[in-house]
Symmetry: C2
Subunit: 137 residues, 2 copies
Amino acid sequence: MTQTVAPLPSFDPACPMSAFPIQVGGKWTAMIVLCLENGPRRFGVLRRHLRPISTKVLAETLTAMGRDGLVRRCPVEGADDGGVEYELTPLGRTLLDVIEHTRDWARTHLSELVRARDAFDRAATASKAVLGTSRAP
Amino acid sequence: MTQTVAPLPSFDPACPMSAFPIQVGGKWTAMIVLCLENGPRRFGVLRRHLRPISTKVLAETLTAMGRDGLVRRCPVEGADDGGVEYELTPLGRTLLDVIEHTRDWARTHLSELVRARDAFDRAATASKAVLGTSRAP
DNA sequence: CTGTATCCCCTACGATACTG
DNA sequence: CAGTATCGTAGGGGATACAG
């Protein structure tokens, strides 16, 4: 009897939810959120702290985050060089919780994952060595 | 007096943690985890459910997840066609919690993000229209 | 100092065809 | 049905140069 074992969750490609598998944004988004946790920061401060990020990617990421309402540009207090600072919006702040959960997971389980990966790679290398005993590059 | 405002979190590029900004894996990893939540599934079942995923990408993702110890291949019960099923390992199961938190965030805040994005895009389009009144492509 | 503009590369993803 | 092999593409990310 082929019963429908259990209902799988449905993923509508048209639903914006599918754009959020688990990643929040680009490679640097989470780090930027973390950097802005304790107050607004200037472009250069972020750049230096996030090095080796390139200016292009930092600007792009910041723009994208602004577009999504996660971050806001505000004129820097008491500076006349036209500089601006970036600060987290209330919406951006809500990400801190999710990020913290992710980091918790990593702190707890990442070593296990790395161990599994190493074991897998060692096994792959080993079998390759066996297969390659009669053929040198 | 230039005090060190507040200590920013440090991101060591050499630390494997930096490989986990917030995304767990590829585009499909989280969905696969969700699909395996209630028991092992066969390749074809996943493929059909995750459509429009390609066989190549599904195989790749599953392999990568196996390498990371998130998923395990097991011979399918009572079948002689040499088929296998994929099941979540205990480590893979720990991802369910993180994913659930992410989905919670999305359910609560995604609409706000989309609204911000739309507003931003409308504003950009509007200013472009103004600039373009005297120049046609 | 704060970006924007190029150029390039590499990988993830996708379509398709083919094998066990 | 369960993959592997090939080919093609788009976009993210990086380096560098240049403009405000």
